[in-house]
Amino acid sequence: MIKVSNLTKEFLQGQERTRVLKGVDLNIKKGEFVAIMGPSGSGKSTLLQLMGGLDVPTAGDIQIDGKYLNKMSEKERTIFRRQKLGFVFQNYQLLPTLTVEENIAFPLHADGKLTKEKNRVIQELIQAVGLEGLHRKRANLLSGGQQQRVAIARALVNSPTVLLADEPTGNLDRANAEEILRLLTVFHRENRQTIVMVTHDIFAAGFADRIILFRDGGIDQVVSREEGDYAKYLANFMA
């Protein structure tokens, strides 16, 4: 499903080259919910951005659904993003001039594929994220939790192959964060939605099937729910 091979990313800072990702290899299966954790500057967000086609690697390959993102042109990546990927950002990134409904429909509009059927999907998503009655409200007038729910609906509206979430609960209180994570879990379980989530929060990471610990530009440790020590690992981490 997602295959990352020998992924390297360098940034030029002044005269100096900084290597943020150092030959990362990673496989994510279809329908898997993966959390990527690690300290600031460890490269986890850069990995997510590369997987989302927002940037191009310095070296290595990223394959999603058999397609190499790193071999696509800028325009092809943009089209791939709107058709195959869904994004949820820490600060919601809703378009303030648009209503809830219009924000959710944005990727479809951008793709020119807003049909009656898709309109029905939008209404279902509004219901699913619990925003009935707010569909005509301007996005910037909603609370943080509500805005993030709109962002999740927007990320799912084009039935993406992968949902990429960057600190989706970073700006929310615990109750709202739990609600958002519950929503993501529901979509993951019911629709076998592949989710890759970057988080600092071990509580959020606990909702994932697999936790990938990042350190110094590479994978430090991988813990899987299927492995027996998952609960123990989480408890230790939290302690």
Binding site: R81, F89, F106, A110
Partner: protein, 820 residues
């Protein structure tokens, strides 16, 4: 120690594109202002120069109400010890003897014989040859048209021949046509030695006039000569530098100031927009500065220094550019005025004025943002609490006030123009909102979803976008009004000339017309009427402020030709029959500065007299810089007894043949034949030429306003970086982003154009209906200017939008998401 100028420089250049656009707006604004000031001063100089050249150093002149008078009449002047210089002049109408085939009227030439070509009372700028008092002096235009050089021979039919001794620049004394078409109705003028002309004409003891210079003011001599000459037909007048009868260019100065004002308004608004946005963006920076001890004053001072720095750079580039533009403008203007005039660009004083204005106007337009920066609240800004949610109420109030101001169209007052323009500015958000809804399907069709988004995005900064469109609109509306005035003016002038010319053809002679002449003219086929016309000229008079002027006084009578138009003509003719009563043309009345019922002092052939101004009338004669008196009163009280002009009413089809026959039959004393059509043509051709300038101006103002559009769209883009980054992350292509910004630019440009045209039409309607304009302008759509406004407004707005769209499409997705 921190160098505040260096910090300011860093601040203003922090955003390179915004810095460029703002600076560009100041440069263009300052250069247009400079160009107009240069044009204003240079035009004034040109006309003053030629008037002064005509006056030279003469203080007084002695003329007569006949063509010539005996030289012995001026003996008292010649014998007076206070008289330092004298110039005797004899004039004779004649015809060039040419090898080419030209009509008599085209060959007619006034030969001016002067007693000394080197006299200090005569200014002749020599191009070639010398003033040797031996040969004929030709103005350059005549030499070029005749193909004559110094040393060539010029022949005058029936008089004699002379070699060309000098070719001189244009002077009023030798004002001549520069092509054969204009030669049809205007005589050439050349200068010869007085003795030579006397020999040719046999008028050895006659002169047409004499000019002289005196020690001191010469008032005693003047008054004594007035007394001596009384009743003789000879009279003395002070020489006055007043050429308003021949040059009605006051409207041109208004035009210069309107353009300068518009340029300042448009570029000032761009500066306001930029500085205000910059202040809003930097609120946090100001709050931090204040938290470390900066006072309100010191924050404001920092912003002020930034603006002063921008103004200084803009002025330093704009003023020299403006001087160059002013030179180009003058070349265009003078070629349009059809004078072969040499000018010296007067740029020093305009440059000083432009530097002052160029530095001050950006500061003036930024006063509110400067104050606003100083007022930054530390707590509110750091908490970001100042980001209040927008309310639609101010927009509603704006629209209501705008509509109220528009109601001024029903009031016939000059304040209506300001009210309509202010009303239109206030209504622009409404227009922008309405237009974005109306053309949403078109935008959807052209730009797909990006078009819909553009319509929504404009609402984020509706005031700024509406103001940007408004400034374009105001520029367009004012220029449309100017264009309509220029287009309509020929019709207005034509109507006025036809109503007050007094006939169809005017014949001017060197000698008074005899009864036999008039009978002969009446017998011509196609001549329907012949009326004598008496014009006393030049008559000097004083304004209310005591300034000396000169004009003509026409004799009028109820049964004579109609030389003026007024609703109460009959009453005015009766008033003129009273003793010492005079009517003034509108322009003369304005220049005089008095009220009806007051007296105007004139130097008449019968001495200095006061006349009661009994009315003001419209007339085409000398653009209204004239007076009218009752015919009998002009003869008796005023002392002007001879008439040298006839007004013919003719059958239009016969006009041409009548002209030829008149020249042939009265060639020995006829000096000028002018038809009403000639007068209309010479008056309106200059105005029609103004249309090209108006179009140039329209393009300039729209171009300047487009800098504002580019700046606004750029600011909108910069403020929406996180939003645009999100769109890109969610799958909006670069092209879609570009389309969105271009659609926004199109909306702003289109609403500016539509609003501008609507406002322009309102202004044109108000002007055409205004009683103040007295029907001078009819309501007519200025199609060519409207089409030009639509095309250039939309195209330049799209160019401006394209520039901003390039920036928008280059926004880095990752960093923009971090900003959000």
């Amino acid at each position: 120690m921190l160098n505040i100028w260096r910090i300011s420089w860093r601040n203003i250049t922090h955003n390179k594109k915004r810095f460029f656009f703002t600076l560009f707006a100041i440069i263009l604004g300052t250069s247009f202002i400079t160009a107009m000031l240069v044009a204003d001063r240079t035009t004034r100089d040109v006309f003053n120069y030629y008037t002064d050249m005509y006056v030279a150093n003469a203080d007084y002149w002695v003329l007569s109400d006949k063509h010539t008078y005996p030289e012995k009449m001026i003996e008292p002047v010649q014998d007076d010890p206070d008289v330092t210089n004298m110039l005797l002049v004899l004039q004779k109408q004649a015809f060039f003897e040419l090898e080419d085939d030209h009509s008599l009227s085209q060959r007619s030439v006034r030969i001016i014989g002067v007693s000394d070509q080197n006299s200090p009372l005569l200014v002749l700028p020599v191009i070639e040859g010398s003033l040797d008092n031996k040969g004929v002096i030709l103005p350059k235009t005549v030499a070029t048209l005749l193909g004559k050089k110094v040393g060539d021979t010029v022949r005058f039919e029936g008089l004699g021949e002379a070699k060309v001794s000098a070719i001189v620049e244009y002077t009023q004394l030798l004002a001549s046509p520069s092509d054969w078409d204009s030669a049809e109705s205007t005589s050439f003028r050349v200068l010869v030695p007085l003795d030579m002309l006397r020999e040719w004409t046999g008028k050895h003891d006659e002169i047409s006039y004499m000019r002289f210079q005196v020690n001191g003011d010469g008032k005693d001599l003047f008054h004594s000569l007035q007394q001596q000459f009384r009743g003789s037909g000879v009279f003395i007048q002070p020489v006055v530098a007043d050429d308003l009868q021949n040059n009605d260019i006051s409207g041109l100065y208004t035009f210069f100031y309107i353009v300068a004002g518009l340029s300042m308004l448009v570029s000032g608004f761009i500066v306001f927009n930029t500085i205000y946005t910059s202040v809003i963006e930097r609120k946090k920076e100001f709050a931090i500065m204040k938290s470390f001890g900066y006072t309100q004053r010191s924050v404001s001072k920092l912003v002020l220094i930034e603006i002063v720095l921008l103004s200084l750079i803009g002025t330093a580039i704009g003023v020299p550019l403006g001087i160059w533009l002013g030179d180009l403008f003058m070349q265009e203007l003078l070629s349009m005025l059809q004078f072969d005039i040499v000018y010296t660009l007067n740029w020093r004083l305009p440059a000083i004025m432009a530097v002052t204005v160029g530095v001050l106007f950006p500061v003036l337009f930024s006063l509110f943002p400067i104050y606003h920066a100083g007022r930054t609240s530390i707590l509110l800004t750091l908490k970001m609490a100042s980001q209040s949610k927008g309310s639609s109420r101010p927009l509603l109030i704006r629209a209501v006030v705008g509509l109220v101001l528009l109601c001024f169209v029903f009031i016939d007052h000059s304040v209506t123009y300001a009210a309509v323009l202010a009303g239109v500015i206030l209504l622009f958000p409404l227009l922008l909102a309405g237009l974005s809804r109306i053309i949403k399907p078109v935008l959807n069709f052209l730009f797909h979803y990006a078009g819909s988004l553009a319509a929504k995005s404009l609402f984020q900064q509706i005031n700024r976008n509406a103001n940007t469109a408004a400034i374009l609109g105001i520029g367009i509306s004012v220029i449309l009004l100017l264009g309509a005035v220029v287009e309509s003016a020929p019709e207005g002038y034509e109507q006025e000339i036809r109503n007050t010319y007094g006939g169809d053809m005017r014949l001017t002679s060197e000698a008074p017309w005899s009864t036999e002449d008039i009978t002969k003219l009446r017998s011509y086929d196609g001549v329907l009427g012949v009326e004598p016309l008496m014009e006393a000229t030049p008559i000097t008079w004083e304004t209310v402020d005591g300034v000396s002027r000169q004009f003509s006084v026409f004799a009028v009578s109820e049964d004579g030709p109609a030389l003026f138009a007024d609703q109460h003509e009959e009453k005015l003719y009766n008033r003129l029959k009273q003793q010492n009563a005079v009517l003034l043309g509108e322009r003369a009345f304005d220049e005089w500065g008095g009220e009806i019922g007051q007296s105007i002092r004139m130097n008449t052939p019968n001495g200095e007299q006061s006349y009661e101004v009994v009315g003001v009338v419209k007339t085409s004669h000398y653009s209204g810089y004239v007076a009218f008196m009752d015919e009998e009163r002009l003869k008796e009280e005023f002392g002007w007894t001879k008439g040298f002009d006839l007004l013919l009413t003719v059958d239009n089809e016969a006009a041409s043949s009548i002209r030829d026959r008149v020249w042939s039959d009265f060639r020995d004393h006829l000096s000028k034949v002018q038809t009403v059509e000639d007068e209309i043509e010479s008056t309106t051709s200059t105005i029609s030429g103004m249309n090209e300038l108006i179009l140039m101006l329209l393009f300039m103002i729209i171009g300047l306003a487009s800098i504002g559009t580019a700046n606004t769209l750029l600011m909108n883009t910069l403020e929406r970086v996180p939003e645009i980054g999100t769109m890109r992350a969610l799958g909006f292509t670069k092209q879609q982003v570009r389309n969105m910004i271009i659609a926004e630019g199109l909306l702003v440009g289109l609403s500016g154009v539509i609003g501008g045209i609507a406002a322009g039409l309102i202004l044109i309607y108000v002007t055409s209906q205004s009683e103040l304009m007295d029907g001078f302008m009819s309501f007519k759509l200025p199609y060519s200017n409207m089409i030009m406004a639509v095309i250039s407004g939309v195209v330049l707005s799209l160019c401006a939008a394209w520039m901003a769209s390039q920036s928008a499409s280059k926004i880095d997705i990752q960093s923009s998401l971090k900003e959000g």
